[in-house]
Every structure is written in structure tokens, then in C-alpha cells.
């Protein structure tokens, strides 16, 4: 604390703090100048983000693999032998193949429900410095994307469009703590509200105290007025735990999202809702156990013993 704190420094500090408070006030009052400034910054940054996404995709894949090493060890060991021959070509194609697979699944999902979608690549993961869970996609208002549109992954809901720029859009992921979606349980049609918790699991709060929820129940988006922000019928997740506390007015539970948010490469934004509610048509099929083949060997004894 040897710096004496001259009058000029203190004056500068006060001016800067007042300026920042002024900016906060302007932003909270919804002054469009600041929105335009953010939009302008994003317009400048988006080409660099796209370039960064292309250049760094091999490193990104490597880091993603390292992160999931514990969970996919068995799979990695199984694939290691096959990968030896194909490693060189796979390195270049891995990213494209994964995105193609995701895209195919997304189109299947959207086609089944009759959603009109715009596909987009994820070009940036949001900084976690602000405790928000967002991604940036490479399509924006020029492609017909608007604020508060549903965003799909290959397996279900990914999030909702938070901000739109001409060539990019910011998507709030379903894991974001401020994310909330009205859901219904497939089959029983019970309704509730699902909130993000910052991880792949979310909190479910049922609205009716007479109904019950069970582990394994599948949740689908209930849909919003005029289909924004959420179109109906999108698979959201399944119930992994139920809280039956006596003090609760209605049941609550923990839900695991279908979407793997760490591996999002391609997403689809629903720009047109179906005429008819798809109902439970989009419920993902339960995994079928692979049958183990049995081999029966018949041995016929030879008439004379062999020498």
C-alpha cells in the first residue's frame, strides 16, 4: 500500500465507476445504442470465430476425448485396434463425419415431427466466466432465425435462441441456470416445469399435486403460445430421480437431458412449427439389448477309432 492515491487518480477512478454505473443503467433501461454496440462487436468477431472453429476443431476433438476418457474408456479400447490403420485419414474426416451424423439425426427428428428447420454449425462455446451456458451458431437473421426459437440437437432439445445477429445467433443451452421449459410426461400427460442447473441434469417441478412421476418417465416439450419459444413434442430428457419429500406441495425430480451438450457440433433451429402437434411421436426408442448368438456343435462319433 505504498501508493499514496493522488487526487488525480481518485478523480479518474470516480469518473470510470460513474461511467460504468451509467452504462448499467442505460442497459437495464433498454437503450438500443448498447445493443447495437454488442451487435456490431459480434458482427466483427463472427468471421474470426468461424475461422477459429475450423482451425481448432482437431484440438477441440482431442480435448473433448480427454474430458470423456473415463466414461468412454471401454469404447476407446474397442476402437483403438480399428483406428490404427485409419488414424491418418480419420483425423481429417472425424469432425466432418460426426457433424454429418448429427445433422442426419436432427433432420430425421425434424422430419418426423414436421418441423421446418435451419441447420447451423456451432462456431463458439460461450465463456463460463459469466456462469451462463451458451453457444454461437453460424446462421442468423439472414437465414430466417429469430429470437426465442427452439434449437434442436440430434436427440432432443438443445436450447433456445437468445440473440440474433445477421450471420450468427446466440443460443442459450438448456443447461443454463436461467433456462425454463414447460414439459409433459409422455403417456400420462402430466405437466411440469423443467429448469437448467448448469450441468446435464435439470430440475423438474410438477404442477399438479395429485399426479406422480416415476424414474424413467420421458419428458417432452409442452409447446408455447404461437410455438415460441418452444414447439411441442420435442424430446427433452428422462427422469433419473424423484423427490418424494413430505413437505413438497407437488412432486419434484431430477431429469437427465437427452442432448450431450459437450459434443454439440451441428444444431437445427425450428423456424416453422408443424400444423399438428406431433404428440409422443418423437420419443426416442429405448436401447435394445444385442442378442448373443449361440452356436450348437453336433459331434458324431466315428465308426472306428482313429490311430
Amino acid at each position: 500500500m505504498r501508493y499514496g492515491g493522488e487526487g488525480r487518480t481518485r478523480l479518474l477512478l470516480i469518473i470510470l465507476i460513474v461511467t460504468s454505473l451509467f452504462l448499467i443503467t442505460l442497459d437495464l433501461r433498454g437503450v438500443s445504442v448498447l445493443d447495437n454496440a454488442r451487435q456490431g462487436t459480434q458482427t466483427i468477431l463472427s468471421p474470426f470465430q468461424k475461422a477459429g472453429s475450423v482451425i481448432l476443431s482437431p484440438v477441440k476433438n482431442f480435448l473433448s476425448d480427454v474430458t470423456h476418457l473415463g466414461r468412454t474408456r471401454h469404447q476407446i479400447e474397442k476402437l483403438r485396434a480399428d483406428n490404427a490403420k485409419l488414424k491418418a485419414s480419420l483425423l481429417n474426416r472425424k469432425n466432418a463425419d460426426a457433424q454429418l451424423k448429427q445433422l442426419k439425426s436432427i433432420l430425421d427428428l425434424a422430419g418426423t415431427a414436421g418441423y421446418k428447420v435451419v441447420n447451423a454449425k456451432v462456431i463458439s462455446q460461450g465463456s463460463s466466466q459469466s456462469f451462463s451456458q451458451t453457444i454461437t451458431i453460424d446462421s442468423g437473421s439472414n437465414a430466417g432465425i429469430k429470437k426465442n426459437m427452439t434449437v434442436l440437437s440430434q436427440t432432443g432439445i438443445a436450447g433456445v435462441v437468445k440473440d440474433v445477429y445477421p450471420t450468427t445467433a446466440l443460443v442459450m443451452l438448456a443447461t443454463d441456470p436461467s433456462f425454463k421449459i414447460g414439459v409433459r410426461i409422455a403417456g400420462t400427460q402430466q405437466i411440469g416445469i423443467l429448469s437448467g442447473r448448469g450441468s446435464r441434469s435439470g430440475s423438474l417441478q410438477l404442477l399438479d399435486n395429485l399426479t406422480t412421476v416415476q424414474v424413467g418417465d420421458v419428458l417432452l416439450a409442452r409447446g408455447s403460445v404461437a410455438n415460441r419459444p418452444f414447439v411441442p413434442g420435442v424430446p427433452v430428457g428422462y427422469v433419473t430421480a424423484v423427490d418424494n419429500s413430505a413437505g413438497e406441495i407437488a412432486q419434484s425430480g431430477t431429469v437427465r437431458f437427452y442432448t450431450n451438450f459437450g459434443g454439440l457440433g451441428v444444431v437445427a433451429v425450428v423456424v416453422g412449427a408443424p400444423v399438428n402437434n406431433p404428440g409422443d411421436a418423437l420419443i426416442p426408442p429405448k436401447p435394445v439389448p444385442t442378442p448373443i448368438p449361440t452356436v450348437t456343435v453336433y459331434v458324431t462319433p466315428s465308426p472306428s477309432p482313429t490311430k
Binding site: 500500500m1 505504498r2 501508493y3 492515491g5 493522488e6 488525480r8 487518480t9 479518474l12 477512478l13 470510470l16 465507476i17 461511467t19 460504468s20 454505473l21 451509467f22 452504462l23 448499467i24 443503467t25 442505460l26 442497459d27 437495464l28 448498447l34 454496440a37 454488442r38 462487436t41 459480434q42 468477431l45 474470426f48 470465430q49 475461422a51 477459429g52 482451425i55 481448432l56 484440438v59 477441440k60 480435448l63 473433448s64 474430458t67 463458439s124 462455446q125 460461450g126 465463456s127 463460463s128 466466466q129 459469466s130 456462469f131 451462463s132 451458451t134 454461437t136 440473440d163 445477429y165 446466440l170 443454463d176 441456470p177 436461467s178 437448467g196 442447473r197 448448469g198 450441468s199 459437450g262
Partner: protein, 172 residues
Amino acid sequence: MFTRQISLSAPIFLIIYLFQEAAMNQFKLPGGGFSLFVIFALVWAVLSTPEIAALTGFCAGILMDMSQSSGGPVGQWTLIMIIICYAVSYLGYGDGNINGNPVGVVFFVVSANLAAEVLFIASGALLGVTTGSFGQVLITLLGNSAWTLVITPIVLPLFSYLHNMVFETRAL
């Protein structure tokens, strides 16, 4: 002299900001990851006079607020960075044990980073910014601090060199 220092500092800030937004934000690291730009701004502030540190905090905060992944209103990060950058510089300026010692700089940067995050949560609560469950916030705070502790010693020589280049070049 002051104008010359600003004209040299501005491109460095912009390049690191661009690198953060275009490259660093591509990775989703465990524990919330880290912000290279915040580390840079804090190192810059620790090594500078309180006056320069306050200006550094203002510029860094404005750039962070302009980022689309910034959760709060414009000005929130600006306010936090002004306070934190001024505070670390005020506490450490002129003390050779702190800004002349790499361990001291790293300690200040990690502490300031943690303080900035806590301030963001506290001010966010007042401004209506949701930050998630207590557990998730705790993981992010610890993860972010751990990453900052690992990364700062690696990048410190470069940032320190850049700071010296801008502020210790004598006019001919």
C-alpha cells in the same frame, strides 16, 4: 508519453481479446475453464500504477461486456474490472515483494480473479443475473481459480515482457 503508451497498449488488448473470443472460447474445459483475457488484464494491472490499472480495468471490462457470451448488463464487468484492477494495483504498487516477484504476481492475479467472480455473483444477484445452483457456482469458482493458477505462470513472462515494452521504453 501517455498517448504513446495507450496507442501501444490498445492493439495488444484487442489482439488478446480477439484470441480469447475466437480461439479460447472454442474449448469447453472442465471446471469452467479460464479467461486468458481476464488473466492478461489482471497481470497488466498488477504491474501498473493504480491510475493505469483503473483505465486497464475500464477498457478490459468494456470489451468483456461487448462479448455476446457476457451474461449481465453492459457495464457490469466494466464496474467489476475497474474496482478489481485498481485494488490489486493499489495494494501491490511499489512493493517489490509483490510486483517484482512472479509468485506475488501469480498470487495477486489468482486472488483478483476469484474476487472478480465473487463480485460478479454478488452484483449479478442485485441486477437479476442468474448464476446457477450453489454447487455449480462453487465448482466454477474453484475450477476457474485452479485454471488461473496453472495458466498465469505460463503466460506471465510474455505479458510481463509486453508490459515492459510498452511502459519502459524511453523516448529518444
